[in-house]
């Protein structure tokens, strides 16, 4: 039997392949077969089970979350170039992080992710509230999101200007998005955060299908558009905020994954949501693997690798849409 969606079936097969590659490749080449037979050295066991495996799984998980968050953002904003960052999530997280680093020197680095989450959530809430005028509109949310995002970025720049160099470097590494310090605790934390919002997204996929049609059509079909939009923005914020918290700011996965997934399974969200998750997970896992092997022993943060792939992809999207009326 030929699968109905060959591309996505192939992508699903790529997950274990890439996972295996992530476990084997690196400074130390590890023989997985030996490890499975219990013949590996203690050192190899540590490298694989405590370092590479959690890191690969974290990349998979964070990428899946970003893919889903991007799918929601594009549907709710009715804009194929939307991503969770439009809700001000990234800018808010960066601003809060910079405040913590500059304003509270001496505070432990572990506070950073939590500050980031708080900043992300507050920004998303501010964007939503400011765009409320007897209901919301997608265009208003996009515009206010961009405006507040620019404002927060300016704030971050000001904070950085007053910080000392080593603090700035630490901030920049976190901002660039990296999963180098993944561990099982973080994975458990992320999983716990994601499971409910993602389950809700899957449960309400029909609402996401419908809200893309615009307020008038959706409402005349009986959708409570403002309620659904608020709910979806909340879920999108929860999902991407949690991801920012553990993995830092990883751009472009939320933008690219839904596009690739749409080519594989079409526009219906029943399939698009899982497909975007799969593609997002693959992208980030690949980006992290490339980031830590391509110029080893130097490690490129995964966020930089995704940006290197993502920026040309964005250009390609714009080029492909140059004849689409705005």
């Amino acid at each position: 039997m030929t699968p109905r969606y060959p591309a996505i079936s192939l992508a699903a097969l790529l997950v274990p392949a890439l996972l295996l590659a992530s476990l084997m490749l690196g400074d130390q080449h590890v023989d997985i077969a030996a490890l499975l037979k219990g013949e590996a050295t203690a050192e190899a066991r540590i490298i694989v089970l405590d370092l590479r495996l959690p890191r690969a799984l974290m990349a998979l998980l964070a990428g899946m979350a970003l893919g889903i968050a991007g799918t929601i953002a594009q549907a709710v904003m009715r804009n194929p170039l939307a991503e969770p960052g439009i809700l001000g999530i990234n800018a808010g997280a960066a601003f809060a992080g910079s405040i913590v680093i500059v304003g509270f020197t001496g505070l432990s680095v572990t506070v950073l992710p939590w500050a980031g989450f708080a900043g992300a959530t507050m920004m998303a809430a501010a964007v939503f509230l400011l765009s409320w005028r007897k209901g919301t509109s997608s265009a208003r949310i996009v515009l206010i999101g961009i405006g507040l995002g620019a404002f927060a970025s300016a704030g971050t720049s000001v904070m950085i200007a007053f910080a000392n160099i080593s603090d700035v470097q630490r901030l920049m590494i976190w901002l660039a998005g990296s999963i180098y310090d993944a561990n099982w605790d973080k994975i458990r934390l992320l999983l716990a955060w994601l499971i409910v919002p993602i389950a809700l997204v899957c449960l309400f996929y029909r609402q996401i299908d419908l809200i893309r049609f615009g307020d008038d059509v959706a409402a005349s079909l009986g959708q409570r558009v403002n309620l659904v939009r608020a709910g979806m923005i909340l879920l999108c914020t929860a999902i991407s905020g949690a991801t920012v918290t553990v993995a830092g700011l990883i751009g472009f996965v939320g933008l690219i994954a839904p596009h690739l997934a749409r080519r594989m399974v079409g526009p219906g969200h029943a399939l698009l949501i899982p497909a975007s998750a799969l593609v997002g997970g693959l992208l980030l896992m690949a980006a992290d693997l490339v980031g830590r092997t391509i110029i080893a022993p130097v490690q490129l943060p995964a966020g930089i690798v995704t940006a290197l792939i993502g920026a040309p992809f964005l250009a390609y999207l714009l080029w492909g849409r140059r004849h689409v009326p705005a």
Binding site: F213, A219, G222
Partner: protein
């Protein structure tokens, strides 16, 4: 022919309705009963409030004062889905997300009939098939919307509204931007739906002659107020049209179709 006693048997009734966007009042003190199982056309110049009235009829716009009644019950008391099972609105120039097929679009029409966990049922399939047949879109069901002509796309949207299986269907400028042949198709479809489908259809049209030819009932608006309503031949008067449209037409009574037309 059109029977005026239908007006008494409820359906969609607007009572002293005032509609406004923020502070700009669009429609003021409108009383209107939509006759049931007929084709009503709303006429008037741009900005006279026709589309706004349609929006209020599906609760897209909350009245500033007055009420919309559906079978003697205020529309505001209906749940969103419950209302959408009774009244469908096809807005002006709707835009579908990219990459949808005709069938994808039509299936959305089933939204108000499905609960959160309900699976797609044979009833849903039936409704979609029927809608596709009526609009003669059955052969094009797998086609992407982007590849359709303007007329086909408009029929696909009407099919979506039909899949909603409401007794009342509101169409906001369903023929604008269509060539004459496609306009005629849409008009024939409306006539069929009213005659054989027992539907109540209300449409905003710009072509006065089209309205005169096909409507059972015409309502004319000027600056948010109802100026004239009745059977086409009763409202197609020179003074009325001069007043509503600011044009000075010739009225021609065509004996063959017994319809009145205007020459501008």
């Amino acid at each position: 022919m059109f029977q005026h006693d239908n007006e008494a048997t409820s359906g969609l009734v607007l009572k002293n309705l005032t509609l406004a966007y923020d502070n700009a009042t669009i429609v003021e003190g409108l009383d209107l009963s939509i006759p049931q199982r007929t084709f009503t056309v709303l006429l008037g110049r741009n900005g006279s409030g026709k589309s706004t009235v349609l929006k209020a009829c599906v609760g897209l716009l909350r009245p500033k004062s007055g009420t919309v009644l559906l079978d003697d019950r205020p529309l505001s008391q209906f749940g969103a889905r419950e209302r959408a099972r009774r009244i469908a609105l096809l807005p002006q120039g709707p835009v579908a997300p990219e990459g949808l097929s005709v069938l994808d679009l039509v299936r959305q029409g089933r939204y108000p009939h499905r609960t959160l966990l309900a699976r797609w049922s044979p009833l849903d399939d039936e409704a979609c098939d029927e809608a596709l047949e009526l609009t003669r879109m059955a052969d094009l069901r797998e086609r992407p919307l982007e590849n359709l002509s303007g007329g086909q796309r408009q029929r696909a949207w009407i099919a979506m509204a039909l899949a909603q299986q409401t007794d009342i269907l509101l169409l906001d400028e369903p023929t604008t931007f269509l060539d004459l042949a496609h306009q005629a198709e849409v008009m024939d479809l409306i006539t069929t739906l009213v005659k054989h489908g027992k539907k109540t259809i209300v449409a905003v049209l710009h072509d006065i002659n089209q309205a005169a030819r096909h409507a059972n009932h015409i309502v004319m608006f000027k600056a948010g107020k109802l100026v004239s309503q009745g059977a086409p031949n009763d409202v197609m008067r020179r003074e009325t049209i001069r007043n509503v449209f600011d044009i000075d037409p010739e009225i021609i009574h065509d004996q063959k179709t017994n319809a009145k037309f205007i020459l501008v």
